[in-house]
Amino acid sequence: MVDMNVNLAAADKIVDPAFAAPVKLGVSDLTIRYGGTAALSGVNLEVREHEIFGIIGPANAGKTSFLKTLNRMDTFNTNMSVEGEILFNGLNVQNLKNIYALRSRIGVVFPLPVGLPLTIYENVALSPRLRGIKRKSELDVIVERCLSRAALWDEVKDRLNSLGSLLSGGQQQRLTIARALSQEPDLLMLDEFSIAVDPVTTMRIEDVLKELKHDMTIILVTNLVQQARRLADRTAFFLEGECVEVGITEDLFTGEVKDQRTRDYVEGKFG
């Protein structure tokens, strides 16, 4: 029995090098409330550099609220209160002096694509411009690189000056990914990105994410457990405001789970 545990621990390291990587994001005792009611409570987890960290769970589990606190998007909602500690690169995001700088380091992809009312080019060039890059030649390079990485360049290279909102849903979602990449983020957060995207595009984006992992840390919130299985190195299971389990993704499906509810959920027995 003891031997087996040691073996498991050793296996972890082999299966998942991310375990050895430094901590990108440390969350301890995180509780989020809307008014009086807690949307998420007592969350403890760590996200490591260059891993894809999945978060699965049914609706109302607190997944989106969790993401919002990481880049301080909670400031939009005066009703929302956050307790606990979130360390990003070792700094507590709750009392940063400049949350705009924090946000500029974290890319966000929303469930429904949000093409800003700008041209395709301007959508991607906005963030670099905000950083102070003005030269057209430099911006051109960034725009092409980000659109290529988001697997959109070939489809839009001839109409960069048309409105982003004229693209199809799947293209718009890739545009928002390109826009997030233009931030050159340390951390990319995707919130159920495939909700409005067709399966083919979803697979293309998933391939993109596997590539991006080498350059950044990715948090992938998804309600498709198989998507988490395909992509995530480790996965957390959220249920009704509670972080039920955090573990190596494959373990949630086939290995040992600490909580039976996790296995039930990934096997589709509820939720």
Binding site: N71, M73, F76, T78, Y100, A101, L102, R103, S104, R105, I106, G107, V108, F110, L112, V114, L116, P117, L118, L126, S127, R129, L130, T176, R179, Q183
Partner: protein, 310 residues
């Protein structure tokens, strides 16, 4: 039988007779229809009325060149009355132009503050106050122009008279600002929050979000707000009558008194003989004003509609 028809009513005759409810329904429909198209009836009626009153002048004494290009408005000259509205147009345009210079920064700033920064109670109070401000009668503004601005301008700029373009422009600007604020704020509110969130998620500061995302997205509505302000400026009568100095004059500086098209009608109509050329000339000014404000409002409306669709 009683099981099938428990209320014991006739199975077919109801369909073939009209009861009281039917007549009430038709009557209410008619009333609402009349109320609904009354705006169209009134606007056509007013247009026909002012056109008929001004028609004689248009046929006989009217000279296109004199009317639009002569700076002399001397209708009471016994020998050779002149009906040139160039100076009046210049008066109205200069006052409206200055009013917009005053009102645009004010109203845009107020709309941005109310729509983007103020929250909760503060926002509600401000909106109510702005609407209250818009409801102040124009004669009160004119009074402020006469009794407060006039001595203030004389003191500050050391000029003999304080009733001039500057005075009326500021007064008119302050008058137009509340309604422009209201419409501009509506335009900002029509910009979906997801744009703001997406832009802030990129790390944009509040100002960057507003300048790079919200204002471009709302630009049609904001333009509509400005045009409605211009329309208001053109049509305003009482305040400009009291604050401009009411002297026929093409202004060379901010401190020159002028006279507005509307004020001319208001001041002179009561003193002319009905049907005289002077009377008809005033109505011709009315036609001109009607067409201008109609075009401005229509343009503003089309622009505002444009954003709602796009």
């Amino acid at each position: 039988m009683s099981v099938i028809n428990p209320l014991n009513r006739s199975m077919t005759t109801d369909f073939d007779s009209r009861n009281m409810d039917w007549y009430i329904d038709k009557f209410v429909q008619f009333i609402v229809f009349v109320a609904g198209i009354s705006a169209i009836i009134f606007i056509i009626g007013i247009f026909i009325f002012i056109t008929m009153e001004g028609f004689g002048f248009l046929l006989e004494d009217f000279s296109f060149r004199e009317f639009f290009f002569s700076p002399f408005w001397e209708p009471s000259d016994e020998d050779a009355p002149e009906y040139g509205i160039l100076a009046l147009v210049a008066g109205t345009a200069s006052v409206t132009g200055l009013a917009m210079i005053v009102a645009i920064p004010f109203s845009l700033g107020a709309a941005i503050f109310i729509g983007e920064f103020a929250s909760g109670k503060m926002r509600e109070y401000l909106k109510v106050l702005v609407e209250l401000l818009a409801a102040i009668p124009s004669v009160v503004w004119g009074f402020i122009g006469l009794s407060i601005m006039n001595p203030l301008i004389i003191d500050l700029f050391d000029v003999p008279v304080g009733l001039n373009v500057l005075n009326a422009g500021i007064i008119l600007g302050l008058m137009a600002a509340p309604i422009m604020t209201s419409i501009a704020e509506d335009a900002l509110k029509a910009v979906p929050d997801r744009y703001r969130e997406a832009a802030e998620a990129l790390g944009a500061t509040r100002w960057q979000v507003i300048f790079k995302t919200v204002l471009p997205a709302a630009k049609n509505g904001l333009l509509g707000a400005v045009l409605l302000g211009v329309g208001r400026g053109f049509g305003e009568t009482m305040a400009v009558l009291m604050a401009t100095g009411h002297a026929v004059n093409i202004p060379g500086s901010l401190f020159d008194p002028v006279r507005a098209l509307t004020a001319t009608i208001a001041a002179e109509l009561g003193e002319t003989a009905v049907g005289s050329p002077h009377y008809q000339a005033l109505f011709t000014i009315g036609i001109f004003l009607f067409i201008i404000t109609f075009i401005i409002n229509l343009t503003a409306d089309l622009i505002v509609r444009g954003i709602r669709k796009g």
